[in-house]
Amino acid sequence: MGYEIHVKADRRDFLKKSGSLVLGAAATLAFPNIIRARDSRPTIKVVGTHVTLQEKIRKQAEQDLGINIEFYPGGSAEVLLRASADPSSFDLYEQWSNSINVLWQANAIQPISTNKLTYWDEINDLTKKGRISPNAKIGLGDAPYKLLNVQPDGSLGSRHTGEISFLPYVHNTDSYGYNSAVIPKGVPYETESWGWLLDEQYRGKVALVNAPTIGLFDAALAAKAQGLMEFKNMGNMTRPEVDELFKILVDFKKRGHFRGVWSSVPHSVDLMKSGEVVIQSMFSPGVSALKGMGIPCIYAAPREGYRAWHGVMCLSSESTGERQEAAYEFMNWWLSGWPGAFIARQGYYISNPERSRAHMSKPEWNYWYAGKPASEPLRGTDGYISVQLGEIRTGGSYINRFENVAIWNTVMDSYEYTLLKWNEFVLS
């Protein structure tokens, strides 16, 4: 989930702030003064998005670890820029795997030693080997395992070296959501297809997430599913491919196919809620929110496979000493079970699920991980019921979903070029 924007666990809060924007008001380069300088306990600064920088998590961690933790949540572009430009401004950086290349290239982060990670051995094969199961597709683009290990030449690769560029933790599969009140319900993995995004039937009521590293792949998957073009490697498109894809997209846009792009989860919710959009790229919390409002939004399980994202927790190249130790403690805490269970209730997965299982009820585990019908209504982290009795998670179980990854959110070599093209697309 490369360009996640302002996703908050607390749905009420999150809805209240609907309309908050990508970069928001805190879009200043210089970090604000530290809000709390408590005691002599070590203090770590965490920069990241709202997906993981949640107050409940922060408090729990402070309580569990006895350290001071400061969260600096922001839009993904903002935090990426901040982190890559000024490594001294943070100890830990929580973002998406597609930002790793940028950060790594910028020398903003330092390798993390697997020896210091208590639960390293429990981390599943998705990040270690690239496949959650032997049957699984690897998925195109920057699959996290390709970026995980720090190679002797300083590059990032899949070979294990004992040093990793990020701590594997939160991840999920994304797809598009559609309003089943308008669009007939499809069959997961069979009829549901990325191609729907470019289906002429929904002209004018389609939106993409406003991020070339994410939305572009939704569009590419759709174009491919519609048979409009082929990619040599969708995960790293050539300039001509980028040109061709954007030609198709601009063509669609000019014909009024797209309502536009959305820049935040609340924005995506508004679009579908208002009826402006019936099908669009979506993030899990947006789907939950719409369902909570009574809009029958279905989070599709496209037969082409999901677009997956993987959260990364990186250690600042400037973090040393006591702060570095504290940062390791925080990383280990993240895999200690409670946080995994916490974010599971928001629909996210953790890289060592079994440890979180103990912190979840059986119905919770069955629903969130096992892909089974909810045997009782399940509450979200906000305390409200977010899953009705009998409901089944679209796409099936954790394994099932991650066996069907078509592509990972990726910063391609043509990243800068896609940015220029993206502007053209958005404003065409």
């Binding site: 924007l21 430009a85 910028a106 536009g260 070599d413 993206w422 502007n423 404003l427």
Partner: protein, 616 residues
């Protein structure tokens, strides 16, 4: 409801009703025109807003264009343009803040986000610019300076190969800059990699020198050069990060915000156009409806005015017409004039009461007139009575002179005949005629006696007493029984006769005359009957004398009561009897008349007033 109102109030009520209706129409019209003007204002506002939408759409495209120019060309003027356009758009939005539509709100928010992103972009851009055109160069030249110093130092005692090696480092270092600049120009990340590789090579070579050369020159220059190269890389990477950052900002974040502004502006224009169309349509149909309603309302109000006028007019004129009729009748002196009922205490009410007063006056006048007429009638009666008395007197004188002369003519006539006969020697015949002279003279004496009797009536023995006619007539019958028998009459007296207040001798004279009259004229060969009876009338006792004689033709019914009038010249009598009877009755304030027809007998009625005693 009108009837009980005062005239003034009726008119006022009428005016107020009409006024109220007119006011209602006016208010309705005002409301309508208000609505129309409101619609017009909305229309104008909408038009402005639609205009605003188009302006915003135009400006937002322009602002993004300028932002891109700034981003890629780093023209300060383009940034200024962006700010200028933003201010302009903000002002435009500010102006339209009166009716804050959802679109305006969204546009404002997106525009604000756009601008804050742009400000961020500017900072990034400035930083990047400093990094690229200052820091990178500084690092590059510092590193180069150290390297060159080192080369200069070692060139004195080093072999050419190592020198060549060192020169190659310098070249690689230059390649770094070249590649870096290529990246910033082309934005092709490939050059980042190449630059990084170059830097890595430089670093590697420098490390190698550092490892092999422990001289002071190396110490003094290679280490700082190394440091500069590290800094060089850091600065370069930061510049790359910042470049990517602002590229993201302008192409993704700002583009999206700009698009949202554009989209909402277009939508606003479209919606406003539609609304304007609706308002136009609505206003038009409302106006039509209103005109219809107004026509109906005015029609109703006119009808109301007419009805009210009629009602008021009628409620005023009806009483007035009735009153006029009444007054016209009253002015003619009528007291039967119908005065309309009118309760209200207004002018007409006063007139109505005045009419009643007139009516009462008229009634009194009428009474006075009646009284006067009564008096005049009485006077006339008295006058006639007097005239009749005179006529009677004249008649009396005439009759007396004629009838008294008649025997004289007879006497003289016979005497003349006697003389003639005597002269002719017809003595026997003459003597015969002497008896006729005697008889004539006797008749003259009789006439004179009768006249005396008549003249006595009302002058002599006028005392009146109550007379029981039963007794009186019984003795009268007895006294005259011989006479009646002789005339072959039967006299029947019915019982139950009244007691009358009268002069007894005159009444007896009357009865005698009635009897002799009957005996003279009412002989019936089949048996003459004279019956006497009475009946009681309202204020009089009626005594009748009925015979079964030949009857009297109607033409003589009055004449027979005249003096010296005789129906039959052959019968005896002077013709005074019934005249005396009439005079006696008159003396008693009574009347005498006859009912008869030929062959049916005759009935003489004597009417005695019951109140005779009182009138005395």
């Amino acid at each position: 409801m009108f009837g009980s109102l005062k005239l003034k109030h009726k008119i006022f009520a009428g005016f107020i009703s009409v006024g109220l209706v007119a006011t209602a129409i006016a208010v309705f019209s005002y409301g309508t025109f208000n609505l129309v003007s409101t619609n017009f204002r909305i229309f104008v506002n909408s038009s402005n807003s639609a205009q605003l939408g188009l302006l915003l759409a135009r400006d937002v495209s322009e602002i993004q264009r300028q932002a891109l120019i700034y981003t890629y060309e780093a023209h300060g003027s383009a940034a200024e343009q962006v700010h200028e356009l933003y201010r302009g758009m903000s002002d435009t939005l500010q102006k339209s803040s009166e009716h804050e539509s959802e679109y305006i709100k969204k546009i404002r928010a997106h525009l604000k986000a756009y601008m804050s992103t742009f400000e961020q972009l500017q900072k990034q851009k400035q930083l990047q610019h400093r990094l690229v055109y200052n820091d990178i160069r500084t690092s590059a030249s510092d590193a180069e300076k150290h390297l060159r110093s080192y080369i200069k130092l070692i060139s004195n005692h080093e072999d050419h190969t190592s020198l060549l090696q060192d020169e190659r480092i310098l070249n690689t270092l230059l390649l770094v800059e070249k590649n870096a600049m290529r990246y910033f120009d082309s934005l092709d990340p490939q050059y980042i990699g190449e630059a990084k590789e170059n830097l890595a090579e430089v670093r590697k070579r420098l490390q190698k020198i550092e490892a092999n050369d422990t001289s002071k020159a190396a110490m003094d220059h290679i280490r700082p050069a190394m440091k500069e190269v590290v800094e060089y890389e850091r600065v370069f990477l930061e510049a790359v990060a910042r470049t990517r950052g602002y590229l993201f900002l302008v192409n993704v974040v700002m583009a999206a915000e700009a698009y949202e502004v554009l989209y909402n502006a277009k939508l606003m224009s479209a919606q406003i156009s539609q609304e304007m169309g609706e308002i136009e349509q609505g206003t038009f149909s409302m106006l039509q409806q209103v005109i219809g309603t107004l026509v109906v309302a005015i029609g109703i109000s006119l009808l109301l005015v007419v009805i009210l006028s009629l009602l008021i007019g009628r409620s005023i004129t009806n009483p007035i017409v009735s009153l006029t009729t009444a007054f016209r009748a009253l002015s003619k002196g009528s007291h039967h004039a119908e005065i309309p009922v009118y309760e209200a205490d207004d002018e007409i009410g006063h007139l109505t009461r005045a009419a009643s007063v007139f009516k009462e006056k008229n009634r009194q006048t009428e009474q006075l007139l009646d009284h006067k007429k009564q008096l005049a009638k009485e006077l006339e009666g008295n006058k006639k009575e007097l005239e009749r008395s005179n006529d009677e007197l004249e008649q009396f004188v005439y009759t007396v002179s004629h009838d008294l002369k008649s025997p004289l003519v007879t006497s003289m006539g016979f005497i003349g005949i006697i003389q003639k006969l005597a002269a002719q020697g017809k003595l026997e015949e003459a003597v015969e005629k002497l008896d006729r002279v005697v008889k004539s003279n006797e008749r003259m004496g009789q006439l004179i006696n009768d006249l005396l009797d008549l003249s006595r009536v009302g002058r002599v023995d006028m005392d009146k007493i109550d007379i029981d006619l039963n007794e009186l007539l019984a003795s009268f019958h007895e006294v005259h029984s011989q006479q009646i028998e002789k005339a072959e009459f039967t006299m029947q007296i019915e019982p139950g006769l009244p007691v009358i207040y009268a002069n007894e001798s005159r009444i007896l004279q009357l009865f005698e005359n009635m009897l002799s009259n009957a005996l003279k004229y009412a002989y019936n060969p089949a048996g003459s009957v004279l019956s006497i009876g009475s009946k009681e009338h309202d204020d009089a006792y009626l005594v009748w004398f009925r015979d079964n004689g030949p009857g009297i033709p109607e033409e003589y019914h009055e004449k027979i009561f005249g003096l010296f009038y005789r129906l039959d010249p052959e019968t005896e009598g002077t013709g005074i009897g019934l005249a005396v009877a009439a005079k006696v009755m008159k003396f008693h304030n009574g009347k005498i008349w006859v009912e008869s027809s030929p062959g049916e007998g005759a009935t003489f009625w004597l009417s005695f007033s019951k109140n005779e005693e009182d009138s005395e």
